[in-house]
């Protein structure tokens, strides 16, 4: 690789990682005003352990993300199976209808959900947030699992059926083991979508109930609290870990490169 390319890619990586590294390092700084030199201390992590609001919000985020992962993965995988194995009228239209969720700014979707949910009595709360997160996750699950399904034709399933397996047996014993890595990748993806989601949660959370990103936003707007730094450092490390796991399973981009 040429010198210029090395310098260029190096500069881009510094730009991408510098603020994240600074934030994680500052989470361990005793000074609340980010003064240098750094006095290493875990005082903010201890403060975090005593911050009920942030802990409750974290628990809400994790519970919603888990529920979202299960629901979105099941519903999305079912739809992906239908698209992969059947040709029917409206199939293309239905696949097109997945796009608005991905392409319309979350601000519009979030405020629109708020309007409808208030109107028809669903209201705001953790249940409303879960409704919204699943909607955002389904299209990604359909795409990720669909890509895996496209990789193997119906021949295996037809063979199983011709040997006398019921549709359910065929799915459990033949199809699922083949698409399993795709389903696991989609589930990780759905978890990350929900755990990181701020905009939808923000509009659908009533006073007193919130998820972690909503709580962080409120804290940043009120003026900074160093505990936010500590929890942010944890979030960054967790979500990057999740995505490394996702990349190992799905190898997006990598395979084409080699």
């Amino acid at each position: 690789m040429s010198r210029l390319s090395q310098a260029l890619l190096g500069a881009v990586l510094v730009f991408l990682y510098m603020p994240i590294v600074v934030m994680v390092v500052m989470a361990f700084n005793r000074s609340a005003l980010y003064e240098l030199p750094i006095e290493w201390d875990t005082v903010w992590f201890q403060a975090l352990a005593g911050n009920e609001r942030l802990l409750t919000a974290s628990m809400n985020s994790i519970l919603i993300a888990l529920a979202n992962t299960v629901i979105a993965t099941v519903l999305g995988t079912m739809a992906a199976l239908a698209f992969a194995r059947f040709r029917f009228r409206g199939r293309n239209l239905m696949r097109l209808l997945l796009l608005p969720t991905i392409t319309i700014p979350w601000l519009i979707i979030g405020t629109a959900m708020l309007v409808l949910f208030f109107w028809i009595g669903i209201g705001r709360g953790l249940h409303a947030i879960l409704l919204g997160h699943v909607a955002l996750s389904i299209p990604y699950v359909v795409i990720v699992v669909g890509a895996r399904l496209a990789g193997f034709g119906p021949a295996l399933e037809e063979a199983a059926a011709s040997l006398g397996a019921s549709p359910w047996q065929t799915f459990v014993r033949v199809s699922f083991p083949v698409i399993a890595p795709g389903v696991v990748a989609a589930a990780l993806f759905a978890f990350a979508v929900s755990f990181d989601q701020f905009v939808i949660s923000y509009f659908l959370s009533p006073p007193g109930v919130s998820t972690l990103p909503v709580e962080i936003y409120a804290a940043i707007r009120k003026g900074f609290t160093p505990e936010v730094n500590a929890i942010s450092a944890i979030i960054i490390l967790v979500s990057m870990g999740l995505m490394l796991a996702f990349a190992r399973l799905y190898r997006f981009g990598g395979e084409r490169g080699s």
């Binding site: 969720t101 409808l116 701020f198 080699s258």
Partner: protein, 292 residues
């Protein structure tokens, strides 16, 4: 049960749950918002709304909203521009000059931050850009006696934060279209006497245009609708269409006006996507035609 009936039941059974969910959470809400945008007051709590177009009229008549929309569009254009400036060369270097496992590792490193929390990444820039922060110190270390940097809570700070959030999109889409270019096309151009610059302009750039346009759309659309980033990094210069819509729903409680502004934002988004569609489709079709 006949074969077609069984087939139909399978299709409906597999797709209905997901699409009913999307109906309730995406399509009905958008319809409800359209209704709200033509009402005088929100029909909640027993108030009697009447039909009106005054919220859309206000948008056309008041300079405030037009300026606001232009600010948001300009923010979208600026962020997209800088993402191209930073992202395209990086994608080019990655696709053309890096091989093997290095390429895979670098690719992963570039898309990784993208999947971490956007709010947290914007927050991290407040630590870097604040007075007495890392950037301020670095500048004063290089140029002692330089004035205060004073960049936090400004338009440039917002642009920096948003470019940081969205540049991986541009690198990703440009990389995918650049690495798909057949090396023999470039060799052919060079052996026929084209200079490196001419080869780039006449061969590489047109073939990678779909990636460039796709990246630009994927960045422009969310940036026009952004409110959290301008709010945190932009200070008093951070008033955008997005932040005003946020206010209508969270502090001012003028939902019909907020709904009308959201639909104007949606119209801008759709216009941009429709404008980009022929480029994407035409170029993709052209590439297929050329390869066959």
């Amino acid at each position: 049960m006949s074969e077609t009936a069984r087939r139909r039941r399978a299709i409906v059974g597999l797709t209905a749950p997901a699409y009913l969910w999307l109906l309730l959470t995406i399509f009905l809400p958008l319809a409800a918002m359209l209704c709200f945008s033509v009402l005088t007051v929100a029909p909640i709590g027993g108030r009697e709304p009447a039909l009106t177009l005054k919220h859309y009229a206000a948008f056309l008549e008041k300079d405030f909203y037009r300026d606001l929309t232009w600010r948001s569009v300009r923010l979208g254009l600026d962020v997209t521009f800088w993402c191209v400036v930073v992202g395209y060369p990086a994608a080019f270097a990655l696709a053309r000059h890096v091989r093997g496992c290095w390429r895979e590792a670098l690719f992963l490193l570039i898309v990784l931050p993208f999947w971490s929390n956007g709010l947290v990444r914007v927050f991290s820039w407040t630590i870097v850009l604040r007075d007495g922060g890392l950037l301020d110190r670095a500048v004063h270390w290089v140029v002692p006696g330089a004035g205060a940097l004073d960049i936090i809570y400004s338009y440039p700070a917002t642009v920096i934060g948003l470019v940081h959030s969205f540049v991986p999109y541009m690198i990703l889409t440009c990389y995918l279209s650049l690495q798909a270019i057949d090396d023999s096309l470039i060799e052919a151009a060079r052996s026929l006497g084209a200079s490196a610059a001419r080869t780039f302009l006449r061969v590489v750039l047109p073939l990678s245009l779909p990636g460039l346009v796709a990246g630009a759309v994927l960045i422009f659309v969310p940036v026009v609708g952004s409110f959290m980033e301008p709010r945190i990094l932009g200070g008093t210069q951070g008033i955008m269409l997005g932040t005003v819509i946020e206010d209508q729903f969270t502090t001012v409680f003028n939902w019909p006006l907020g709904a009308a502004l959201s639909f104007i934002l949606l119209a801008i988004v759709l216009a941009v996507m429709l404008a980009a569609l022929p480029v994407l489709r035409g170029r993709l079709a052209g590439a297929e035609g050329a390869s066959s």
